[in-house]
């Protein structure tokens, strides 16, 4: 009996524990040093940006290291060279590059280490104007679509990105202000000392591409660009999206399409399968070296729309905000615990009245607190500066 138990334990341990071990890839397999180049050569008056970064390790807390002090220039197939200025943090650029739409362009990079990289020559693709941005609301949220067309049937491959900006309000408006230096609370009248209305922006993170190659005419109709989940904060007050449209070469389109399919997720049942997509940049000094990234050239067209919360009703943005009462004596503790006061309680607790506009100063028993983000919109990284277009 004893021996058999022993056997069973061995079996169980074998099947279930002895199995999972950390795997270290063979030496030389993991690299953190490939150059990653992304650039868009803007043919118009807007700025051109080329970023030079490096791949980084799979380990935690690593971030892309920038390639600084490189010489980056834009060349065309007629031999014209324009040098880009270094903006720092691996960014190089110039405003108003004014490309010749009939020429092909490429980027030459000479790193401080003396290596030369060249992107493939690419045509300057002029983006047709965005015809319209439209949106509709469904059970899942508000979807935003783009419509465009090229009457010359020339563009065929499109890419978009966007910047969305929204106004949002904190749940409470506070009439009291905390002077943290003095650990005292100042009560104002008819003033909102704590930021209450903010604006926040976000950039698109997905690769947004579409093609009309399969169609007889170059029309993109109702291409989904963004979706705002139902009851999201983004349309709690007012929302705006600026969509930028690029025209791509077929090669660039294929690159972005392949990249679109790869994600950073691994290890799950529904995993996507591994991909190794490089791009159109090559190392000249060391032809075998892997270089990632893509450089395209062209113009950008943009369009902005606004969506007001009144247009999407019912839209119930829920903030999990509540208040708590604390007596004056415990003030110091709560002030340092991500909570801020939003009101004053006079007299007894059971007669709490948030009569914030009450100008009569009576004996203060305590304060009403709430989580800081519920009263201060800047806690959620909002910006109190109203955008110029708002």
């Amino acid at each position: 009996m004893k021996t058999s138990t022993y056997f069973y334990v061995i079996f169980a341990l074998t099947i279930l524990t002895g199995c999972k071990q950390a795997y270290t890839p063979p030496s030389g397999a993991v690299t953190t040093n490939y150059l990653v180049v992304f650039g868009f050569l803007n043919s118009g008056a807007d700025s051109t940006i080329v970023t030079l970064k490096h791949t980084y390790s799979l380990a935690a807390a690593s971030a892309a290291e920038a390639e600084n002090n490189a010489q980056v220039s834009v060349e065309n197939d007629a031999g014209a060279v324009t040098k880009l200025s270094e903006y720092g943090n691996g960014r190089y650029g110039l405003t108003g590059l004014s490309l010749d739409n009939n020429r092909n362009y490429r980027v030459r990079i000479i790193t401080s280490g003396g290596k030369t990289y060249l992107s493939a020559f690419t045509a300057v693709k002029i983006a047709p104007p965005i015809d319209s941005l439209e949106w509709n609301k469904s059970d899942t949220g508000v979807s935003i679509f783009v419509n465009t067309h090229d009457p010359q049937n020339n563009t065929r491959y499109y890419m978009w990105d966007y910047i969305e900006t929204w106004e949002f309000h904190s749940f409470y408006q506070s009439y009291v202000h905390l002077d943290s230096a003095a650990d005292t609370i100042i009560v104002y009248q008819d003033l909102i000392p704590v930021p209450h209305v903010c604006w926040q922006s976000d950039y698109s993170s997905n690769i947004l591409i579409a093609s009309s190659a399969k169609l007889s005419s170059d029309i993109i109709s109702k291409q989904a660009i963004a979706i705002i989940p139902v009851n999201s904060e983004k349309i709690a007050a007012r929302y705006s999206i600026l969509v930028r449209q690029y025209a791509l070469t077929k090669d660039a389109f294929n690159y972005w399409q392949a990249l679109q399919k790869s994600t950073e997720q691994t290890g799950t049942l529904f995993d996507q399968l591994p991909s190794s997509i490089t791009g159109n940049v090559q190392c000249i000094t060391n032809p075998g070296e892997t270089v990632l990234g893509y450089v395209s050239a062209g113009s950008i067209t943009t369009k902005r729309i606004f969506i007001d919360s009144t247009q999407v009703q019912p839209w119930e943005y829920y903030q999990p905000c509540g208040t708590k009462y604390h007596v004056r004596d415990s003030l110091t503790y709560y002030l340092h615990n991500s909570q801020i006061p939003i009101g004053i309680v006079y007299g007894k607790v059971d007669t709490i009245k948030l009569t914030l506009r009450d100008t009569i100063f009576r004996n203060i028993d305590g304060y009403i607190f709430t989580d800081s983000y519920c009263a201060d919109c800047t806690v959620k990284h909002g910006d109190t500066l109203k955008p110029s277009y708002w």
């Binding site: 099947i15 279930l16 199995c19 935690a60 892309a64 093609s211 392949a258 399919k261 591994p274």
Partner: protein, 928 residues
């Protein structure tokens, strides 16, 4: 002295005879006859009319004897000598011109000679029956055997003159003890060297010149035997073979074995279950697939994996047949055990290069597993018990030897074990499987038999997770065999095969899901074998398979689940095939086998088909239109011929060269996601967007046997081409994909390799060593594809494992104790590694190495097993044995999978080894 004794015997026998030569004068009388196929009686009347002779004979012995004779003025002696030549009739003429005709009475004239040389003759007759004299157990059988071997069997309608030309002999080879048919037994004659191998029913049929022959019958594990035959015309001969029971003091005399030299088949490995049972395996169960992967040219996908690869083909390119039923997943517990009960399996054949034309539909190999029919003579059983599994098989006759059955079951009860371990992680794990077999066969008459087989296997497991995997095979078929004539027989089969799997996750009741999938196949086939003449054995037939696949359904599990049900449209197809083949013996040294198979494939509605912009890559983006087809409507079809050619040339008695060329087509594909922890396979039928796979293979082999065929050596080389083999695109999404064509791409493949084998299957020390070098390289060749895998260069396939060494050794210390050792070394399989992270505008991406650029660590494993048997008394109610085994003796942690997960923003690699330590096992096997 001697003379008197003879005389005395003759008196006793009631005839007063003299030696024939003393009657010389009388029989000089000349006779003239012109007879065409006449009765003996007529012959007698004619002779008696012409001369003064009186015939004495037993009419019942001679009523089927027909005479064709054309003579002018010949003596009676000459006539009788001529008509009785090559028969066992003998005659004598006495002084009174009485003619006595007797059957099997060799005594008359030959008696004296035989009597005087009696001892020598007996030794002659026992010549080759080597071990008999020393056999203490088999005395009775040996007597039977000897007498059977010495008897002259007359086949066909007897004639006095054996006409020229060929006749066909046919019949069954069966086990004398159980009455079960023996597959793969060689039935042959030496001069001219013709012969056949019995089919799965134990049936053989071949043509040979008329006349007297020594028919030899050999089969693995059975005692070799021979039959003296006198072939007059087409006829039948059933042969029973005795099991080979090793003797205690065996005198090893090996006579001529059916060797790899003589068979025309190349690239075929035949394994008998006895051999399989000698090989050490995990948890003490004899395992068909684990044995198959030790053969040269066969590699396993990985430890605990569902498949095996043959000569650089993928796992789905193997057609696995179990009694003619297609098995889609031949394993239990994701490959820990194979799905075939070792007590039910009779034998296994693996065709690697020259695939017989009757098989098709897969590109790489055919693994044909046959189960036992059931003991026709007595009720018996066998089984085994180990701490993890138990199995029991019962078999026996139903009525007077016409019907027999075999029923088998196997199950695991390891679940309880996981639950007793005091750790919540284990308590959340479970693993169980079972399989059931039922075979029935009935012989209506000598010409008609019916075989019904049923098989079912089921698996369910959950290892330390909230995800439960289930899969199941279900197969049933009915086969009717009809013998039209000695030269022709046919089989008709109807069958149904099903494979299903499901994955369900219930970690979070809100997300609880069940993903399920199944393949169904309805089969019909008719096969005919026709032995045209000595030189030609023809087979032809038709087959038809109707497929119905449910490519996926993703459904909520439980009432709280909010999963949106998603069911993909089913797929239907019909695959028909027609084949014709001929085995041609051009000369004793040179033979050819040629076959053609034509397959016709129809992809059928109801289904929606996506069309893509002309000249554009098949991407969702380029989706142009959806065309709906009604139920049963032909959506598209593919067809094409397949050629199967092989030739053998015997250089010497011990060496031969074989060559073959094969083309094959495959209409059903598997796309496997090997990057995840638990590989999930997607089966897909060819459709307008997914072309059938095609391939061809050239192979050349050289075989040389040493020491009277005790040691077999062979070298085979092959070169294989594959077209339209599917691989996934970068970033493909395979599961629940309604348009899988957008995520796969076609590749061109080439595979080449060499296989070396040294084998010794007899003696105290037996086993084999094989080395296989095999490469499989793929190249993306879809002209529409722009993002080429590895820049459009050749890259190793997922299962490319160049070096494979296998050693199987078995040493018998005594008849009751033997030790087996199994060693495996293979190159690790290819791996695509995430090698870096990088930022693209707006998000982060993982950069992977080139496809399959890296490899798993090399695989090495040693297993040891010991077999302790009870006493060997043949007449004993129950035979039992103990098997003690150690799997992975060196406790090497061979990885089963390597996968990467994101944990706290870090991508971490893990390797999972299933059998990372020595696994002891003990199994009790019994047989009654």
């Amino acid at each position: 002295m001697k003379f008197y004794k003879l005389y005395y015997i003759l008196l006793i026998s009631g005839f007063h005879l003299q030696m024939t030569n003393t009657t010389y004068a009388q029989s000089q009388k000349s006779i003239t006859l012109h007879f065409e196929n006449r009765l003996f009686q007529e012959f007698v009347q004619a002779v008696e009319a012409q001369a003064d002779f009186h015939f004495y004979y037993n009419p019942s012995q001679l009523d089927s004897f027909r005479i064709t004779i054309n003579i002018l003025n010949k003596s009676l002696k000459e006539i009788l000598d001529s008509i009785f030549r090559d028969t066992d009739f003998h005659y004598a003429v006495d002084d009174d011109n009485n003619v006595f005709v007797l059957k099997q009475f060799r005594i008359e004239t030959d008696l004296a000679k035989e009597f005087f040389t009696h001892k020598t003759n007996q030794q002659d007759s026992l010549n080759g029956a080597e071990a008999e004299l020393n056999n203490f157990f088999d005395e009775k059988n040996e007597k039977i055997k000897s007498s059977l071997e010495n008897k002259l069997y007359e086949i066909g309608i007897k004639t006095n003159a054996v006409s020229h030309g060929n006749s066909t002999i046919a019949g069954y080879v069966r086990d004398a003890k159980t009455g079960e048919p023996i597959t793969g037994a060689a039935v042959y004659i030496d001069n001219p060297p013709v012969g056949v191998v019995t089919d799965q029913f134990g049936y053989y049929s071949f043509s040979l010149p008329k006349g007297k022959h020594l028919l030899k019958i050999t089969s693995i594990g059975m005692r070799e035997t021979k039959r003296q035959i006198m072939l007059y015309s087409d006829g039948k001969l059933n042969i029973e073979l005795q099991e080979y029971v090793p003797t205690l003091k065996a005198v090893m005399v090996t006579s001529e074995k059916l060797s790899n030299i003589k068979g025309i088949q190349m690239g075929v490995d035949r394994l008998n279950i006895k051999l399989i049972k000698q090989i050490p395996v995990v948890f003490g169960e004899a395992d068909v697939l684990r044995t198959v992967v030790t053969l040269p040219g066969v590699t396993s996908v990985g430890e605990a994996s569902t498949g095996f690869n043959v000569r650089g083909g993928s796992a789905d390119q193997n057609l696995i047949l179990f009694n003619g039923a297609t098995i889609y997943n031949p394993s239990h517990l994701f490959g820990f055990f194979s799905a075939f009960n070792p007590d039910v399996v009779k034998d296994v054949e693996l065709y690697k290069s020259n695939i017989p034309e009757k098989f098709g539909g897969r590109l790489s190999s055919v693994l044909d597993i046959t189960s036992k029919d059931g003991n026709k003579k007595k009720f018996s059983g066998s089984g085994g018990i180990s701490p993890l599994t138990a199995r029991l098989v019962l078999e026996g006759p139903v009525d007077s030897g016409k019907t027999s059955f075999i029923i088998g079951g196997r199950s695991t009860y390891s679940d309880w074990l996981l639950h007793v371990v005091p750790n919540s992680e284990y308590q959340n794990s479970s693993a169980s499987f079972y399989d059931l077999n039922l075979n029935l066969n009935h012989e209506f008459d000598k010409k008609n038999s019916l075989y019904i087989t049923g098989y079912m296997s089921s698996d369910k497991f959950r290892l330390n997770s909230d995800t439960t995997y289930k899969y199941s095979n279900k197969n049933a078929n009915i086969l009717w065999k009809h013998i039209f004539s000695n030269k022709m027989y046919g089989t008709l089969m109807f069958g149904y095969d099903r494979y299903e799997y499901s994955v369900s996750g219930n970690a979070n009741p809100v997300n609880a899901y069940k993903l399920s999938f199944d393949v169904n196949q309805y089969n019909f086939r008719a096969d005919l074998n026709y032995n045209l003449n000595t030189a030609n054995a023809v087979d032809f037939g038709i087959s038809s398979i109707f497929y119905k696949l449910h490519p996926g359904s993703y459904l909520p599990e439980g009432s709280q689940s909010l999963v949106v049900p998603n069911v993909l449209q089913p797929e239907q197809a019909l695959e028909n095939a027609l084949y014709l083949g001929d085995k041609i013996t051009l000369s004793p040294r040179f033979s050819i086998s040629a076959g053609i198979r034509y397959s016709l494939y129809y992809y059928l509605g109801a289904r929606d088909i996506y069309t893509y912009g002309p000249g554009l890559p098949r991407e969702e983006m380029n989706l142009l239109d959806t065309v709906s087809y009604a139920s049963g409507k032909i959506i598209n079809n593919y067809q094409g011929p397949e050629y199967r050619l092989s030739a053998r040339f015997a250089i010497t008695e011990n060496a031969s060269v074989k060559a073959s060329y094969n083309t094959l087509r495959q209409y059903i594909h598997v796309i496997s996601n090997t990057a995840s922890i638990s590989p999930t396979d997607i089966w897909k039928l060819s459709d307008p967007n997914i072309l059938p796979q095609t391939g061809d293979q050239f192979s050349l082999g050289f075989y040389h046997n040493f020491k009277s065929n005790i040691i077999e050596t062979s070298i085979e080389v092959y070169y294989k081409r594959m077209h339209n083999y599917l691989d996934y695109k970068s970033g493909a999404q395979l599961i629940m994909n309604p348009h899988i064509e957008t995520d796969v791409t076609t590749t061109r493949g080439k595979a080449y390799g060499a296989e070396l084998l040294i084998k010794k299957l007899t003696g105290k020390l037996n086993g084999w060593i094989s080395y296989t070098y095999s490469r499989t390289l793929l190249q993306q060749d879809d002209p529409l594809e722009v993002q080429k895998i590895n820049g459009g260069q050749y890259y190793p396939a997922n299962f490319d494992r160049p070096h494979n060494v296998n050693f199987i050794g078995n040493y018998k210390f005594s008849h009751r104790f033997s030790v087996s050792l199994n060693m495996v070394y293979t190159t690790g399989r290819p791996l695509t590694l995430p090698i870096a992270l990088y930022d693209i505008p707006g998000s982060q991406r993982v950069f992977y190495s080139e496809r399959n650029q890296f490899r798993f660590p090399d695989y090495f494993r040693t297993d040891l097993s010991m077999n302790i048997e009870g006493n060997h008394k043949i007449k004993k109610f129950k035979h039992s044995s103990w098997t003690i085994g150690f799997y992975n003796l060196t406790a090497r942690k061979n990885p089963y999978s390597i996968y990467f997960v994101e944990e706290n923003g870090e991508i971490k690699g893990y390797k999972l080894s299933i059998f990372g330590t020595v696994i002891p096992s003990i199994t009790y096997n019994f047989k009654f």
